[in-house]
């Protein structure tokens, strides 16, 4: 007979579940409201979502550091809190983009907002656990929601994008579970800290290394997919193109942050165990990714697609930090994404503002470069704002991404990888070209006949303007808050104890 389990609620530490429960509850509330009264305006749901996420954020910030809960399934360390904060802030910033002056299909569903919150809950679970099962389930919850959200945009491209993303995601899920199986075989456990201990104990056994590396390889493949590293990145451009601009911008930040946190937990474990192969593999992937994505971005004709490649490249850039596995590098990851988030928010919001239902400039693309031609002459402020975002993405100081960039490069230098820093630098130079291309179109070309205030500011509304203004403010003023931000992140990373000192 099994003995009954006696466990007190206090021991369960249910509070660790609070943030996710809030998000899930939020989703259910939205569904319930819809059941009670149909055809409510999207603004209600948007505001409701923001409020719920705000409460969620409060709960997250209020969490105790380094707590485990619920039979050690939950792990609330600094990284978990940090990443949840980023995820929540990003969600709160991107969701108001639903409030366009024109109606778009997905926002006519209350379910959109419910799925959105379930997705956030999924990500939150994913980052606040070191149990392979919970990570898997959280990841899948989030991913499935995300596929749906993409498809809800409801046009050819969005379905195609969702299907591509979905199918490749399924393959990645296969890789993930195979990798997990191998690690389970080695360690008899699905908890990362126990796996680490087991590997440490068994590393010297004959024939063990191939299993360790094989397991790491499969896991790397699956996360490389999530992080869109070469050659697992092929979904990203198509999905960005097919998804609506807010969602695309969202995808370039939130799922990546979540995946980075998990990668950090998994791969830095290997690296800390002294398994160099993982480090080399990640470095190779990172370098190849940033380079290939950059050169492919060079030849894009569509701004959104270019931004897709650019965010692949940025992901490669940040991935290098995982290989470095130092506190500074880990700090850099969050700093980078924390800052990148605002700039990307701005850039995609600009695209969203200028989004049309008809493709008037190009047969296929929504945002071809020509669309912004000569913008400075017609809408100087819009052009300057967009240019600011582009410069920030290119890493021109003192705009936000620059600080993340130098911090990561500095981390590479500190870890003795000067060549990596140089590669990063040169890649930034290549990248500058395609950001510049948009600036060239906006500032240096003459307006085409089809560009005018109405076509560019097609979708504009007060909330969108507010978001844009906020993004500009944060991008330009980054200099003034980087210091406290950095301090906070460093402290959190140190608490988590991930990475070498």
């Amino acid at each position: 007979m099994l003995e009954p389990v006696n466990i007190s609620l206090a021991e369960l530490n249910l509070v660790t579940l609070m943030p996710m429960l809030i998000a899930i509850a939020g989703g259910l509330i939205v569904l319930t409201i819809d059941l009670i009264k149909e055809n409510l305006h999207k603004s209600l749901y948007v505001m409701l979502t923001i409020l719920i996420l705000l409460i969620d954020l409060g709960a997250t910030v209020g969490l105790q550091y380094n707590e485990r809960g619920f039979f050690d399934v939950m792990l609330i360390d600094g990284v978990a809190i940090l990443s949840q904060i980023i995820i929540l802030i990003a969600s709160m910033l991107f969701i108001p983009l639903a409030l366009t002056s024109k109606r778009f299909h997905e926002y006519s569903y209350p379910e959109f907002f419910a799925l959105f919150m379930f997705m956030i809950a999924g990500f939150q679970f994913m980052v606040s656990s070191d149990n392979l099962i919970l990570i898997f389930v959280g990841l899948e919850t989030a991913s499935l929601s995300l596929y749906t959200l993409i498809a809800l945009h409801n046009r050819h491209n969005s379905f195609e994008a969702a299907v591509k993303y979905f199918t490749m995601g399924a393959l990645a899920a296969g890789f993930y579970s195979m990798g997990a199986a191998i690690l389970y075989g080695i360690s008899g456990s699905l908890e990362l800290y126990q796996i680490a201990e087991a590997i440490q104990g068994r590393m010297d056994e004959a024939g063990m290394m191939i299993l360790i590396l094989g397991g790491a390889g499969f896991l790397l493949a699956s996360f490389a997919f999530k992080l869109s590293l070469f050659p697992f990145h092929t979904w990203a451009p198509d999905v960005y193109e097919g998804a609506s601009a807010p969602l695309a911008g969202y995808m370039s930040v939130v799922p990546k942050v979540a995946a980075f946190v998990v990668s950090m937990r998994i791969f830095e474990m290997f690296i800390e165990l002294g398994i160099e192969w993982v480090q080399v593999a990640i470095l190779v992937l990172a370098v190849v990714t940033m380079t290939i994505a950059n050169i492919m971005a060079l030849v894009q004709e569509d701004v959104k697609r270019m931004l897709a490649y650019s965010s692949i490249s940025h992901a490669g850039f940040v991935m290098a930090a995982i290989a470095l596995a130092t506190t500074k590098a880990n700090t850099g990851i969050f700093l980078y994404y924390g800052l990148f988030m605002f700039t990307n928010l701005g850039a995609f919001a600009m695209l969203w503002v200028s989004r049309h239902k008809h493709r008037i400039h190009h047969a296929r693309y929504d945002h071809p470069y020509e669309k912004f031609s000569g913008m400075i002459k017609i809408m100087p402020i819009g052009a300057v704002v967009m240019a600011l975002f582009m410069l920030s993405l290119a890493g021109v100081p003192p705009f936000s991404v620059f600080w993340g960039k130098i911090y990561l490069m500095s981390a590479a230098v500190d870890a003795g990888y000067v060549w990596l820093a140089i590669v990063m630098g040169l890649n930034s130079a290549i990248a500058a070209y395609y950001y510049l291309k948009l600036i060239v179109y906006m500032f240096l070309k003459e307006p085409t006949g089809q560009v005018n205030e109405a076509t560019v500011y097609y979708n504009v509304s007060t909330p969108l303007m507010t978001i844009l203004g906020f993004a500009v403010f944060v991008t330009v003023g980054s200099m003034f808050y980087v210091d406290p931000l950095l301090e906070y992140i460093t402290e959190m990373i140190k608490i988590s104890g991930i990475g070498f000192n």
């Binding site: 007979m1 099994l2 389990v5 466990i7 579940l17 899930i24 989703g27 569904l31 149909e38 055809n39 619920f70 039979f71 399934v73 939950m74 024109k102 109606r103 778009f104 299909h105 997905e106 006519s108 569903y109 379910e111 799925l115 379930f118 997705m119 809950a121 999924g122 679970f125 149990n131 919970l134 389930v137 959280g138 899948e140 919850t141 499935l144 929601s145 596929y147 749906t148 809800l152 945009h153 409801n154 046009r155 050819h156 191998i182 075989g185 080695i186 360690s187 008899g188 456990s189 126990q194 087991a198 104990g201 068994r202 056994e205 004959a206 024939g207 299993l211 094989g214 609506s244 239902k357």
Partner: protein
Amino acid sequence: MYEVIAFYIFAISTTILFLITVMSKNVLYAMTALAAGMVMISGFFFLLGADFLGVVQLIVYVGAVMALYAFAMMFFDATKDIKEKHQNPALVFLLGGLMALVFVVMFSAPIIGENVQALYPIVDGVGNAQAVGMVLFTKYLVPFEVAAVMLLVAMIAGIILAGKKMDYSLTECEVSDQELEDEILKGEAK
């Protein structure tokens, strides 16, 4: 001894069935083979003492999933043979073969460690379902609940994606916004 025989029977039959799934040109054959293969997989579960899992496999996979596929197939009219253009079939098999080879090499190593302690040991005399229930509702309660959310998500997704409202698109419209909105509102009113 019967375990050996059973293993080989299951092994050979799953391999063949899955190969059919992967190679067949006919969707119906492929699906049938997949369903049969899954049944055979459940055999392994029983062999390995995971009775509960075996049952779940049968019910969920063979019962639910395959039923879903079957419904879907009716929608797609998949009775015809599908045409697939393979640019370089050899390469695909080469990759697959290589993958298999790596697995063989990898799993030839003694994976099971003597010192590894089972965290959630299978206790003699306790039924598998009972044991599984015990773990599932203690240790894995959170994942279980998340899985519930996941299924909810899947359900909502399935409903709205396949729903009638998706037939009109507010995003990609040939007619003007206003007309379309009116039309949709009318449709909803009905």
